[in-house]
Point group: C3
Chain length 145, copies 3
């Protein structure tokens, strides 16, 4: 089995094994020439909107196909991704525009939030801060709006 095939098989296995959004986002991200991760850790909705504006502008500027974008909400920023978030409609729009949006499960545990309390179709990571570290290691630029 050659390298390309192995990647395809791994991708297929990932699609079967993992929640759809996350797996596709990750697989596609590796191939994109630009990568950026946005940190949302403030409880301030103006910061949530700024992160969403930034993501949209980056897609407009570089082309959706050319840039992998991930928004990581944790700590006081977790409210951005709760069911009752004032930014809910815009988060859903970002998801359908191919932006990966993930919530920190460490924060959720601390705030007694279940997946059912969160916006539909977002992704989850065990620890937001570790994800932010990992993405930088993978070559993502880091933006903290």
């Amino acid at each position: 089995m050659n390298a390309r095939r192995m990647v395809l098989s791994a991708t297929f296995a990932a699609l079967l094994a993992a929640p759809l959004t996350g797996a596709i986002a990750q697989t596609a991200a590796a191939d994109k020439p630009h990568k950026v991760v946005f940190q949302v850790s403030d409880s301030d909705p103006a910061k949530w909107n700024l992160a969403l504006n930034n993501a949209r502008n980056v897609q407009k500027d570089l082309g959706k196909d050319q840039v992998a974008i991930e928004i990581v909400a944790y700590g006081p920023g977790i409210g951005m991704l709760k069911m009752d978030s004032v930014a809910g409609t815009r988060v859903t729009q970002a998801l359908s525009d191919g932006v990966s949006v993930v919530a920190c499960e460490n924060t959720m545990k601390a705030q007694k939030l279940a997946h059912a309390d969160m916006l539909k179709d977002i992704g989850y990571v065990p620890a937001g801060v570790t994800t932010l570290m990992q993405r930088q290691k993978e070559g993502y630029s880091y933006i903290r709006p």
Copy 2:
């Protein structure tokens, strides 16, 4: 034409073609051992001054010739670079100290700001957030005061 000459020619062409400040800043930046980009995205003047203090301290600490510094103002931070900015005098000082200071034209469009509304001699970039991504890719450290 050897490599050095080609660089000199390219530099000369850039000087003719582009606004002076930006072209010189970029040409010189590539040769400096240290590089840092500061993000200003808060409407808080204390943050503007902190960014300017940071830039000055870095120049003092590493030597002006040893470090390329760029300050990128966007979103709610754009006020730092408006004509009536309370930090105007200090921005002008930073520019004359060789710091590159640029405003985000995406933000300016959204806030209906023209170049005439902005401090003299600053630079402009189409999208602040894309510039912040690009600089990190070029090896700049990122500081968000």
Copy 3:
């Protein structure tokens, strides 16, 4: 003298020459697979606690031995490391958990703070912002809570 021995000698020399905490932290950091630097530059104790929570979560998530963590306090964030800091007990705990915590001496000079005014056992750097640049260059991820 082989490479490993030279490193050991250099380590030993560093232990003799430098304040203990800093030297050990730096020597050990170079060997760890994960590295992260946290910036604390707000006067807001909630941000201090968030940085400390983040550090603890990263240690829990990746394992203390697997991750070098440094917290750099400067500018309005310096209060985190003053003797009367509301986060004092937690800073001491972080230090004993192997987190490097350093104060910016530029900021201390500006605020007329002496080492005697600061929490015991923290480290010191001449300029916090230069340290944040340096760490990124060394491969540390950057997190600004």
